[in-house]
């Protein structure tokens, strides 16, 4: 085959443009290019604001060198809804529905923290049964949030099946909360002084059935994710946050425990009646696959926490005392002058409220610390040097909710 044969001319067909013949390069010109390096440059890529792996509206500007991330800057604020400004423009009890909308996957936990802060400000004592109901609802919410996070994480890194499985159980959990509160995600059921609705015996049976179902399914999720070789390849040793980095950046929750820091607000700074239900805090061991502080460990901690939450709810349901679910409250609620700082353990980390009262019907200042806000900030230090695909794995494993980052 010699290259010098003439190319047969393409017969001209009306309406069809003949493909352009490639320019013939002289071999002598090619030799002049040998030894020269190709021109390379860093590329700035926008990930988001609408991106399937950003769990909301997050824009991350990434500087890339080929496939490697060299620097990145998250731009948040797309979902800013002025929660703190609204908080100080409304009477205390009217702010609670807005709290739900910060972390919309864990609304009960948000309400719980806000109510604790306001109650401590006003010196309100919550009835015993209401404390139990709060704890049960908060832990059911945690189970629902965690198994959803586990499934969605699979989705982030390319496994669709586990998402469909976890979504099934998660919906059962949300149905439970729906039966109490009348809403699927946003409940407004934990109120200042107690809870709005009581648990019925039927609900308790249903709750036991839900916990049994989740417990039965956990090995199945594991077979799909933690024991899955592809999942391990995608997560082990990826996005390692050391314990020191996690503490310095204010990372909290499962991400902190995955980095080997043994701290859980429910055990170490207990609120409500958590001190009556001792439980085991899962902290990343070094015996697992991968490195302590990587994406795999964060997923593992979440899975272990589901087991613990199931045990807490079971014990609380058995110990549920009879009685009132709402404290007697004055018609106009004016807490005395003062300030409080309350932190609670959200599924995503430590949620904190700092409330300042000047003795009026409205707070002087309502500050809220969203755990995802600090958890996403650490990405600026961890991500440089990883691949773009691993950045998705890293951000997914932190399980951020943008509604809470932006508040």
């Amino acid at each position: 085959m010699s290259g010098s044969e003439p190319v047969p001319a393409v017969p001209a067909v009306p309406g069809v443009v003949a493909p352009a013949t490639p320019p013939v390069v002289d071999a002598s010109e090619l030799s002049s290019l040998v030894g020269q390096s190709l021109r390379t440059e860093e590329l700035v890529v926008n990930m988001g604001p609408q991106h399937p792996s950003t769990h909301g509206v997050l824009r991350v500007v990434i500087k890339t060198d080929g496939e490697v991330v060299t620097a990145l800057q998250p731009h948040i604020g797309n979902l800013h809804r002025c929660a703190e400004k609204i908080g100080e423009s409304l009477p205390y009890y009217q702010w609670l529905p807005y709290v739900d909308r910060m972390d919309y996957l864990a609304a009960i936990n948000n309400e719980h923290g806000a109510c604790l802060a306001i109650e401590r400000l006003g010196g309100i004592v919550v009835p015993e049964r209401a404390e139990y109901v709060r704890l049960i609802l908060a832990e059911v919410q945690r189970v629902a949030s965690h198994i959803f996070a586990m499934g969605v994480y699979g989705l982030d890194i390319g496994a669709i099946t586990p998402f469909l499985h976890t979504f099934r159980e998660r919906e059962r959990g949300l149905d439970l909360l729906d039966h109490i509160a009348g809403g699927r995600l946003l409940y407004h059921v934990v109120r200042i002084g107690g809870v709005k609705r009581d648990l019925s015996p039927e609900w308790i049976d249903e709750c036991h059935a839900f916990l049994d179902a989740v417990e039965r399914r956990l090995p199945e999720y594991n077979a799909l994710l933690l024991d899955n070789h592809i999942f391990q390849e995608r997560t082990c040793g990826i996005g390692v946050i050391t314990g020191k980095q996690a503490v310095a950046w204010g990372v909290t929750g499962p991400a902190l425990r995955a980095s080997g820091v043994d701290w859980d607000c429910r055990r170490d700074a207990p609120y409500g009646i958590y001190d009556r239900f001792p439980f085991e805090v899962p902290v990343a061991p070094s015996g697992l696959a991968g490195t302590v502080g990587d994406c795999f460990h964060r997923h593992w901690v979440r899975f272990k926490e589901v087991e613990q939450s199931i045990s807490i709810v079971r014990r609380a349901l058995r110990a549920l005392p009879p009685g009132e679910i709402m404290a007697k409250l004055p018609k106009t609620f004016k807490p005395p002058k003062g300030e409080v700082f309350v932190r609670v353990e959200n599924p995503r980390g430590e949620l904190a409220y700092y409330a300042v009262s000047e003795g009026a019907e409205k707070p002087w200042r309502m500050r809220c610390r969203g755990p995802s806000f600090s958890n996403i900030a650490v990405v600026t230090e961890i991500a440089p040097g990883t691949l773009i695909a691993d950045l998705v794995a890293l951000m997914g494993s932190l399980d951020i909710v943008l509604g809470e980052v932006d508040r």
Binding site: A269, K331, F333, G338, R343, A352, R365, R367, D406
Partner: protein
Amino acid sequence: MSEPAATPSAPAPAAPADPVTALAARKLRAALGAAVLEVVETGRHPYVRVAPGAIVAAATLVRDDPELAMDCCHLVTGVDWPAKTPADGPGELEVVYHLVSYARRPAAEVLRSKVKSDNFLALKVRVPRDKPEVPSVMGVWVGADWHERETWDLLGVRFTGRPPLRRILLPEDWPGHPLRKDWEYPVEYHGIPIIPPEGR
């Protein structure tokens, strides 16, 4: 509904002092002297207030002291305190640092007591409203970065000695700092009419 509006009594004066705040106050006084302006050891929210110029020294001390070991800046908050009357001067902006120590383990008797936690400390700084400049603690706790940016964004506290402050939650061209008590709603933003809550 019981009335009148129950104003539950403030904590009794004999309330026990918060051990961490008492310890921190003692150490800060020894190191900084007159820069420690106010110490509240009892009540629901104990804190230590230092002079704005001494905040970085105070932060470094409470972080590096092995007994305090406040290794995490949990939250930075700005609070606006405008003057009640124009004669009182420009008013003040307060910055509150909520610090947490993960190195300190809570003792069993603390968990059983009403305090529940002894790894927590609050530092405060007050600056005049017309010149709200506070040295940044980003060099002490890197995690304070975004919290300081948020405090700048919403309250207009200028943190100095750090990478340039950019807004974080609001758009770059947003007028003013909305959590200041005298902030007024703009009439419109890029052609979008804004109706303040009172007019709704």
